[in-house]
């Protein structure tokens, strides 16, 4: 089944066109990687997909689970199963991780007309999920991302993904700032969610993460659109040849 369908997407930030005719189809269970040089607008794509203010769709359309999402509020997209692991997760002083996760899970359950979770059961579950990602009980009491190292932030993103169980997770530079051990932990967390139905869209600058989360499709993104698509061997080729061989139109 088609999960995400992007058709001739054009999008602007502050009146400047960043995405210029992007096409992409992601089916259930597929893992796609979008690779591109810095400044190509990869993060812009993640913000357009999630509906961030200031990121305006000027042409084309995005369908998620068959619905046009242009007019869907941010939280509705999330509750429909679209998840974004941010490149730079935001600090929220005064809100503990547990409180934050509980609000998110209950908002999601409310959206699907399910009763709120029992706090005790919820905490038990989060602690279990946390363990796999090396997040202990003390860390769960800390305020969201406040004073976290780069690795801790990315592990917390992975925990949120594990708890919320999205249909499509966009991982925006999920490995930036991680050493090899931390990256393995995050990759294991992400891989644990792959059940043949959930899909991933990995946005990355380097091929490194793709050694641990194997993609079915690799797309090279430059100047606002996908310039080349292939299987995972394309990522390896890219690593050897560099972006310049692909983005100048002579790839």
């Amino acid at each position: 089944m088609v999960l995400l369908e992007i058709e001739d997407l054009h999008a602007s930030v502050n009146g400047k066109e960043i995405i210029k005719g992007l096409n992409l189809v992601i089916n259930e269970g597929e893992v796609h990687a979008i690779m591109g040089p810095n400044g190509a607008g990869k993060s812009t794509l993640s913000y357009v997909l999630t509906g961030r203010e200031g990121y305006e769709i000027t042409g084309g359309r995005i369908k998620f689970k068959g619905r046009d999402i242009n007019d869907m509020p941010i939280e509705e997209r999330a509750n429909e199963g679209l998840f974004l692991s941010m490149q730079y997760p935001v600090e929220i002083p005064g809100v503990s991780i547990t409180t934050f996760l509980k609000h998110a899970v209950n908002a999601n359950r409310k959206y699907h007309n399910l009763p709120e979770l029992d706090t005790f059961e919820f905490i038990k579950q989060v602690r279990q999920d946390g363990k796999l990602l090396g997040i202990d009980n003390d860390m769960l009491k800390r305020h969201v991302n406040v004073g976290f190292s780069g690795g801790e932030k990315k592990r917390l993103e992975a925990l949120q993904m594990t708890v919320l169980k999205p249909s499509l997770a966009i991982l925006d530079e999920a490995d930036s700032g991680l050493d090899i051990d931390a990256m393995k932990v995050v990759a294991n967390g992400v891989n644990a969610l792959r059940d043949g139905r959930r899909s991933l869209l990995i946005i990355t600058h380097y091929q490194r993460l793709l050694n641990y989360i194997e993609p079915d499709f690799v797309h090279i993104y430059a100047d606002g659109k996908i310039v080349k698509s292939g299987d995972k061997s394309l990522a390896e080729k890219l690593e050897k040849l560099g972006y310049s061989n692909f983005v100048c139109g002579n790839g």
Partner: protein
């Protein structure tokens, strides 16, 4: 500490209260309600207050009032009158304010300095003299209930609280109303508080008056040797509200924390005014005031710290922060540091901001609605102050009330 009172002029005699009231009447009549030209009142303008247009007592309407669900000894005022039906333990002596010792009454809250203290003193009808003689097992909760229909009540309540040597105590004041929410009643409250040596008082106040009401309160505390006064005031009601706290740190190692939180909407003005006087070397004060202002409302903070000559080793810190929720919301801040001594540590800071779009986005991409995300951020913002409430039951209740 006795020597300290010698500095205040004491009017002796049985007619003391009457005499003070008539002096106060003269002062108020000659000065009137302060205008914007009065420095202390330039941000909070009580110009709409016509004290002759209020009624001093009225028929009581029977309503169900909000009660704070904590384990406490309880006193209540209904429409400015003390409910005589109360049970107090031996360690809390409650008497009429007219039984208050003359060497204290009228010496902490000065009729010459504040027009509303003068107004209160001139109109004093009701109030309690509370003496806490040994450490309390649970807090004393004083609830001020206004039950209003179409009358505009004017209540002047005057209390004197005396915490005896070595005693540790907690008092919670709660202002609430029932009935016509558009009533423009006026509560003018003065608390004189004396904390003797080696004693402690935690004084919490929650102000939830009706949205067109006026609430002006003056709290004057005197803190003795090695004693501690904690004042924490949460204001969210009234059209015009001012909570003024004056703390005199009168002996070595006297310390105070004066914290406040306010959250408001509509057209309200909520004012937090503090004056910390370090009257002895090695005295300590800390203040954290945080506000959330929406609509066309106005938050005011005036914080004065006085450190006279030779008051060495004093520490005084003050921080005010406000969150503006709308373009029309306003915050006025006036810190005043009067430092005449060397070898002191004193700091003050003020910051005003808006809700962070990045934080809202981050919460919404996790499925939390915009409204709920804003509320969570506001709760978190004010929690820096509210988490200083040591009484857990009170803390949980207050956190729910600010929603």
């Amino acid at each position: 500490m006795a020597g300290l009172f010698d500095r205040f002029a004491v009017v002796k005699g049985a007619a003391y209260f009457k005499l003070l009231a008539s002096r106060a009447r003269e002062i108020f009549d000659s000065r009137g309600i302060p205008t914007a030209k009065t420095e202390e009142w330039k941000y909070t303008k009580p110009r709409g207050l016509d004290v002759d247009n209020y009624e001093k007592s009225a028929v009581q309407f029977m309503y169900d009032f909000e009660e704070i669900p904590i384990d406490a000894y309880r006193l209540e005022f209904i429409n400015g009158r003390l409910n005589q039906n109360f049970d107090m333990p031996e360690e809390i002596r409650v008497e009429s304010i007219f039984m208050a010792p003359e060497e204290l009454f009228g010496h902490l809250a000065d009729i010459n300095k504040n027009p509303f203290v003068a107004l209160n003193t001139a109109n004093i009808e009701e109030g309690v003299f509370i003496r806490i003689t040994s450490t309390l097992k649970k807090p004393l909760l004083i609830t001020y209930k206004t039950s209003v229909n179409n009358t505009n009540l004017f209540s002047n309540i005057r209390n004197l609280i005396l915490v005896e040597e070595g005693v540790s105590s907690e008092i919670v004041e709660y202002f609430t109303y029932a009935g016509n929410e558009k009533s423009e009643y006026f509560n003018n409250i003065v608390n004189e508080i004396c904390i003797k040596d080696n004693a402690r008082l935690s004084h919490y106040k929650i102000q939830e008056e009706a949205f067109k009401a006026n609430h002006i309160a003056y709290n004057a505390a005197l803190v003795g040797y090695k004693s501690y006064y904690k004042s924490l005031c949460v204001q969210k009601g009234a059209n015009l509200a001012r909570n003024e706290t004056e703390v005199r740190l009168a002996d070595e190692n006297a310390a105070t924390d004066v914290d406040a939180a306010y959250i408001m909407n509509g057209w309200a003005t909520i004012d937090t005014t503090t004056w910390i006087e370090h009257l002895y070397p090695r005295t300590y004060s800390n203040q954290l005031v945080k506000g959330v202002v929406g609509g066309q409302a106005k938050g005011v903070f005036q914080g004065r710290i006085s450190i006279p000559r030779d008051m060495v080793g004093v520490e005084g810190n003050q921080l005010h922060k406000a969150l503006l929720l709308s373009d029309m919301a306003e915050v006025d801040v006036k810190p005043e540091l009067e430092i005449y001594a060397d070898d002191v540590k004193c700091s003050h800071g003020a910051a005003t901001g808006v809700l962070d779009e990045r934080q809202l986005f981050y919460m919404r991409i996790r499925g939390i609605s915009e409204e709920e995300a804003k509320q969570m951020l506001i709760d978190a913002y004010l929690d820096d102050v509210l988490s200083k409430i040591d009484n857990n039951a009170l803390y949980s209740w207050v956190r729910d009330r600010i929603k």
